[in-house]
Subunit: 369 residues, 2 copies
């Protein structure tokens, strides 16, 4: 089946909304945070742990999976769900972001992008058609169109070029994509220029996708600029389609993204900072490596219901991380993923109960950015 978005409730003050997204592998409550499983695994955690912490959908990275183990191998295994033992929805990105961010030796043309593998230096060509072939082979519930993501900062001429190419590639992706159990989402670009964001939104939505990603944000710009771009982009996306803010994952940005009408988020942030021993708390981030927690036998967060906080102390987690024991980064990863997934569930509840504005105020009164 193709995904179906149902708008359940709109907030009366902000642009926040609660909905559901039906997919081949089940229904997702939105707004939702999607943990990132770059290499067919969400780093350090198992599928059962992901379910236990409430994850409803995860992300796979097309670029990484294409290079290793290869999309053909995953197809042979029966698709990404079966390969990685995850039976809930999956979204795959298009590899566009990685091709640009991991590659200094790329050659871009209208045809596509010639790039070198960051693993072995081998040459590969990503065209919209090739990316569709890969994503169809991976078999996620949602596939993203191949786009060109302009860096930040960037000459406006280059932003325009990337925008126009993204539109042309989106049309080619749509043409090449045919998979009855996978929905193709278009991606809106346009850099940090209001007029270009609007133009991209108009061009991409004109192609009529079942959902839309907003790309090219959270690439180093100040947060107010990102919020400004959302303010002008989201209203141009049809209300009956899900809106996905790509690569955004700090708790404050999730709250602000929802307030601007975003339904879906993904980011490596929770697992990446977990591996450095940093955890999210309702009051902000905490660096568990610090000496002050050596004899702190309380959980990371007394009010948290995650596996980590229910069973382990700060002192123990600090000990594990100092000793480079992988259980340590698993425990912090579980906590951080649960924090974001649960934050979205709280947000959804607040929207449904008509209290999102108060929730947002309460959140920022406590959370130190």
């Amino acid at each position: 089946m193709q995904v179906k978005y149902h708008l359940v409730k709109k907030d009366e003050i902000t642009a926040a909304r609660a909905g559901t997204l039906e997919t081949t592998h089940g229904k997702i409550d939105t707004p939702v945070f999607m943990p990132v499983g770059t290499q067919a695994t969400v780093k350090t955690v198992s599928p059962e742990e992901l379910k236990d912490l409430g994850a409803e959908i995860i992300l796979g990275n097309t670029y990484h999976l294409y290079l290793r183990p290869g999309h053909d191998l995953i197809a042979e295994a029966g698709g990404l769900h079966k390969f990685m033992h995850w039976d809930r929805p999956i979204l795959t990105d298009s590899g566009g972001f990685q091709v640009f961010s991991l590659n200094e030796l790329r050659k871009i043309s209208d045809e596509g992008v010639l790039f070198r593998s960051h693993i072995d230096g081998s040459s590969h060509l990503f065209t919209p058609e090739k990316v569709m072939e890969i994503e169809m082979a991976l078999g996620a519930d949602i596939a993203m169109a191949f786009d060109e993501c302009a860096p930040y900062p960037c000459d406006v001429k280059d932003v325009v070029k990337a925008l126009e190419r993204t539109t042309r590639w989106a049309a080619r992706c749509k043409e090449a994509h045919h998979h009855e159990d996978q929905s193709l989402f278009g991606i809106i670009q346009g850099g940090m220029v209001r007029e270009l964001r609007e133009r991209s939104a108009q061009e991409i939505t004109a192609l009529d996708f079942p959902g839309y990603g907003i790309g090219g944000l959270s690439v180093g710009e100040p947060k107010y600029l990102m919020y400004e771009m959302l303010d002008c982009t989201v209203p141009l996306i049809p209300e009956d389609k899900p809106r996905y803010l790509m690569g955004v994952g700090s708790p404050d940005c999730l709250v602000e993204g929802v307030a601007r009408g975003i339904d879906m988020f993904d980011c490596v942030l929770p697992t990446r900072i977990a591996r450095n021993g940093t955890v999210f708390l309702p009051t902000g981030k905490l660096v568990i490596r610090n000496a002050e927690y050596a004899r702190d036998f309380a959980p990371l967060d007394e009010s948290c219901g995650c596996y980590t906080c229910q069973n382990y102390s700060r002192a123990y987690i600090r000990h594990l991380i100092r000793c480079n024991e992988v259980l340590g980064i698993r425990l912090t990863s579980i906590h951080n993923l649960h924090f974001l997934v649960n934050l979205m569930k709280q947000i959804r509840r607040a929207i449904l109960e008509g209290g999102f504005y108060e929730f947002r105020e309460h959140f920022f009164a406590h959370y130190m950015v």
Copy 2:
């Protein structure tokens, strides 16, 4: 409570025996394999996973825990069980083996061993009394006496010295140990010399401990020598006391150890080789990194009931390990630990059913050492 060993059944052909060991944290079926949790965690796996794979008792390393996070901190946390979230039995070694194997700059005297931390080079003195203080603070169900482990090969004069010191230290440990919920086991040394093994067994058992470790084996000697030492040592240990072969963990040595009357084993082998991508199969070891498993979508072992084999393919595990994803080494660790724990359960069943001899023959007909 102090541990109580109950002999349930003796094999009629070999010296194998099935029994139970009652401890403060529950009853253990013997023979048993004990996963090693060096730094208050069995590397890569959680307590729930350990229970799920059937582990009944685990080991903690006194040397490592003393250095980091410190036995006083663990005592403050409520003991090792509570600190690491494990409510089944724990055995702590004495640190003797690590002091000798990890230290080139040690100074040994009758008083004890002055050594440098392998972490920061700081100086520390382990005496029998100090080690008892540490082990009592850790609060395991079973504590091992502080011993001197002679290397292999070793001058016979030095083996005698280590043996005599081990006996004197055992008496001092017994004198210093007083913990109503912890049992102190003596350790038999004697290198690879039959007469010295017998002498050590007599001296140590004369001190009347509730259980006995056999140390100084599996230190580089050929296996037949280890078996020879077991053949002459085990019969000198009172039948009503558990016998623990320290540091032994290859599947073939477990079977042969049981055949010689051993009840308890521990070893880092299953988790160490798991981290290199090597797994135990009924036919021997398999290196999952090898290219031949790239498209092998079968489980590691079709006949295995572990979490890994029930849910993942060789191709997926190989992919994870090649990508340095920690879920990979978790899955191989779970499988290897399950393999040894389950091997012991099968052995126990065979002993109880009077079929251990046949089990052993069958095992070696298939397992390639």
